[in-house]
Amino acid sequence: MTITLQGCAQCGARQYPPRALCRACLADALGPVEETGEGRLIVSAIVHRSLEPGFAGDLPLRIGTVSLDCGLRIIAFVDAGLVDGQSVCLRQEAGRDGTALWYAGALEAGV
């Protein structure tokens, strides 16, 4: 499964969260690039209290830091059953308001 990230056509750097210019070479040459969503779930935490009442009905929520093989780190929701340290695959799904959010899931067998 591939994911779309912001990449620099001049130096090849990838970045997340998105920036206005390339974080590495400062070139104005950014565009979407396909990357494998594979990486490692470095650590996770369980949100029991949210700052926004709108999330109250969803709690508890599990979030984590995924370190992608391409070197970036992304905060994502974490699927049930994953353990910290294991290989995962990131995917994007529409959240409640329709915006695309990151989810970390198990690496598919055979991939």
């Binding site: 369980i46 709108g54 905060i75």
Partner: protein
């Protein structure tokens, strides 16, 4: 070029405007009260203040310049420090250089914030572009979410336990007893209570998290000559460091900028960490206290838990840390929390404490850490201060 020494500069008049849980007054009131109190403490008028350095999260859209008009001042030097937990040490450093250069003769350094039920959520939801787009959609955990990840990672990597972090929280609560400004100072906290507290963002529980409040902290920077002329107990700056966005490639923060610069800090000071009579560090979460113990050289990386099992951080202990109770016991008065380490260090080494004093304290290290724009704080700063009667 080596770091120029901070010779000839005095830090005086540690000032705290009593914290309250909620305030319907604007941040401007807290800034103004701090200015009133800090000048009164030094026996000067506000007209003699010709430099003004401010930090606040809730003063928007105003900054330092608007405060000059608000309070009929005409300073010849101003500074605005939107750097939260690092803003106190950063204000100190900038004010000291301004005094050395003759750009100002007396600088008032103030961190102040108001607090009401809406202000904190509002602040967090508009804190940075990155956190708004890449953290908030994930349950809006606020800083608790990012520091839960840092804490969980630290625990797994170095074998620290919740009880180790509990040792920090309970020691600081013990230190808060006797400090009338500590909002939680009257509430004893033992390890059983710490461990039994409700989860906020696991592994963080209630007593790992600071309680937002309103308040202000302030001090003045002037020449030593001026401080002596005014008859003020004062401190001198033996050394100081600052760093931003250190180790940005590390997937989860296990260290911060202090580790990059501590050799410079102690070289400037001419003494090492073992010489410190007390340590006043930024304590948004216990793991960050542990990180500072390591990165500032009190123990090796990953060994804070071991250190805590053998060294008490209480005022009576081997290494008194956060002798006011810190933010974990006083409350987090926004940017004033970033001034608390400097103000409490100054109180300890000049004998002007609100609560208990480390007997004979002369050397103190004050450290700041601020601005979690994505998944860690970016700003670090520290200073070694020495009291002069």
């Amino acid at each position: 070029m080596p770091v120029q020494p901070f010779d000839g500069v005095a830090v005086v008049a540690p000032t705290t405007v009593r914290y309250v849980r909620h305030s319907d007054k604007p941040a401007h009131w807290w800034v103004g009260r701090a200015l009133h109190d800090v000048t009164a403490a030094a026996g000067i008028t506000k007209q003699e203040v010709d430099g003004l350095a401010l930090s606040s999260f809730t003063m928007g859209p105003d900054t330092t310049i608007a405060m000059t008009e608000h309070f009929d001042m005409a300073p010849r030097w101003i500074e605005w420090l939107p750097t939260g937990g690092a803003s106190g040490v950063m204000a100190l450093r900038r004010a000291a250089r301004a005094v050395q250069a003759g750009d100002a003769s007396i600088v008032a350094c103030i961190g102040a914030d108001t607090a009401n039920p809406a202000s904190f959520a509002e602040l967090v939801s508009n804190f940075s572009h990155f956190s708004d787009s890449a953290v908030r959609p994930y349950g809006a955990p606020g800083p608790n979410g990012m520091f839960a990840l840092i804490t969980a990672h630290y625990m797994a990597r170095f074998g620290a336990t919740r009880a180790d972090f509990g040792a920090i929280a309970t020691a600081q609560r013990s230190n808060a007893a006797g400090n009338p400004n500590a909002l939680l100072g009257g509430k004893a906290l033992n390890l059983e209570q710490y461990l039994a507290a409700p989860a906020i963002v696991e592994p963080l529980h209630l007593f790992d998290c600071v309680m937002p409040c309103a308040g202000a902290e302030a001090f003045l920077v002037m020449s030593e000559e001026r401080a002596r002329g005014l008859g003020l107990p004062h401190a001198v700056i033996r050394g100081s460091i600052e760093r931003h966005n250190a180790y940005f490639d590390e997937p989860v923060a296990v260290r911060a900028g202090w580790a990059m610069d501590r050799d410079s800090l102690y070289a400037q000071a001419g003494v090492g960490p073992e010489a410190m009579d007390c340590l006043e560090v930024y304590d948004d979460y216990p793991v960050i206290v542990a990180m500072q113990l390591e990165d500032l050289g009190f123990c090796a990386k990953g060994e804070a838990a071991q250190f805590l099992r053998h060294n008490s951080l209480t005022i009576e202990g081997a290494l008194p840390v956060n002798t006011s109770g810190g933010q974990l016991s006083c409350g987090q008065a926004g940017a004033a929390g970033g001034f608390l380490p400097v103000v409490e260090a100054l109180r300890q080494i000049t004998g002007q404490t609100l609560g208990r004093r480390v007997p004979g304290a002369r050397l103190a290290l004050a450290s700041g850490y601020g601005m979690v724009t994505y998944d860690r704080c970016l700003a670090t700063a520290a200073a070694v201060l020495e009291g002069r009667a």
